[in-house]
C-alpha cells in the first residue's frame, strides 16, 4: 500500500495503517534519537514519544510535505526539547580520551582493535554532543543519519545555502575538537 494511502487511513483512525507507518519509520527515528542521547533506553523512550505526538497530530497533517519529512521534523523538535530539559553535555577532555583508548592492554589484538574503534566512536559522539545545538542537529542529520541536503533543508526549514555553510562549520568544529586525538593516534579509520 502506498504511503499516502496509509497516512489517509491512519488519519481516519485505522490502527493497522499507523502500525505500518511506525514499523517503517521506527528504525530511523530510534537511530536519530540514539545519536543524540547515546543511550538505548532513552532513545527508545524518545522514539515512543515521537510516535505518540505524531499520532495525536495526524489530523493536522495536510500532506504539504512528505510524511517522513513531517515525522523527522517532529522528532528533531522533540529531541531538541529533551536536550534542553536535560542540559548540555559537558566538554570532553583529552585525558578522558586517553583513558578510554589505552586501558586494558591485556586484550587480544582483535578485541583491542574493536575496543579502540568503539572508544573512538564514543569519543566522536561525545564531541558531537558538546557542539552547539544548531551544529549538532545538522551534523547528526547529515553525517549520522545520512539524510540528503534537500530533506534536511525541508526538515529544519533552512535554505540549502544555510544548511551547507552550517554543516561545513559543524564539521570544522568537530575536527578541531578531535585534532589532538588524531595527532596522537593517527586518523586511520577508513571511510567505508
Amino acid at each position: 500500500m502506498e504511503e499516502k494511502q496509509l497516512v489517509r487511513l491512519a488519519q481516519e483512525g485505522s490502527p493497522e495503517a499507523f502500525e505500518e507507518l511506525v514499523r517503517k519509520y521506527q528504525p530511523k527515528v530510534f537511530s536519530m534519537a540514539l545519536s543524540f542521547t547515546r543511550n538505548r533506553e532513552a532513545a527508545d523512550d524518545l522514539a515512543q514519544e515521537v510516535f505518540l505526538k505524531a499520532y495525536l497530530a495526524l489530523p493536522r497533517f495536510h500532506g504539504k510535505s512528505e510524511f517522513g519529512t513531517w515525522l523527522y521534523r517532529i522528532s528533531v523538535n522533540h529531541i531538541k526539547d529533551y536536550l534542553r530539559k536535560k542540559g548540555r553535555a559537558k566538554e570532553v577532555s583529552l585525558e578522558d580520551v586517553r583513558e578510554i583508548s589505552f586501558s586494558d592492554k591485556e586484550q587480544t589484538e582483535k578485541a583491542e582493535r574493536d575496543r579502540e574503534i568503539e572508544s573512538r566512536r564514543t569519543l566522536v559522539q561525545k564531541f558531537v554532543g558538546s557542539l552547539p545545538d544548531k551544529y549538532r542537529i545538522i551534523l547528526t542529520l547529515r553525517d549520522i543519519q545520512g539524510l540528503p541536503y534537500e530533506e534536511i533543508s525541508r526538515i529544519l526549514k533552512l535554505s540549502p545555502g544555510t544548511v551547507d555553510s552550517r554543516l561545513h562549520r559543524a564539521r570544522r568544529m568537530l575536527r578541531v575538537k578531535l585534532a589532538p586525538y588524531f595527532a596522537a593516534e593517527g586518523g586511520t579509520y577508513e571511510l567505508s
Binding site: E19, V22, R40, R120, D143, I144, R172, R175, Y189, S192
Partner: protein, 162 residues
Amino acid sequence: MNCRKAEKRLLMSLDGRLEGGAAVLLAKHLEACPACRKAEADYRSMLALLRDGRDAEPIPRFWERLGPRLKEETEIVPLLFWERWSLRAIPVFLALVVMIGGFLFLTPQAGEMSQSATLLLENRDPLSETQALFEADKPETRTMMLMFASLDEKTTLRRPTP
C-alpha cells in the same frame, strides 16, 4: 587554490558533490599540500566514525509497547480537548456575564420611572386616562394638573397662556 577553499571542496568531495574540473584542482592541491592531506585523512576518519552508528538495532517489540500507549492516549484525548476548549471559553463567558450584568444595571427600574413611563410599562393607556380626568375637572383644576404633570416630567414650569 588556497587551503581554505581546498577544505571546503574536500568536504564536498567526501559528500560526493564535487565533479569535473573542481575535483581535478582539488586532487592537484592535495598532492602538493601535506596539511590538506592530513585534513583529508582526519575528515575521512571522522565521517566514518559518525556514519558507523547509523544502523543501530532498535529495542524489540516497539509497536507492542507503543500500541497500548496510543490506545490510552486516545481515550484521554476527548477530555483534554474539552479541557482545552473550556479554558478558552472562560474569558468569553466572563465577557458575556459583564455585558449582561451591565445591560441589566443600566436599564432603569420601575421605581425610578416617571408616572407616564410606569403606566406605559404596566401596559395601561396613560393618554386616555389623562384625557378622561382632564375632561371631568374644572378649568382651574386642569391648569393645576398640567402644572403638576410638568413638574413630574422635570421640565421647566411655564405660565399657561390665557
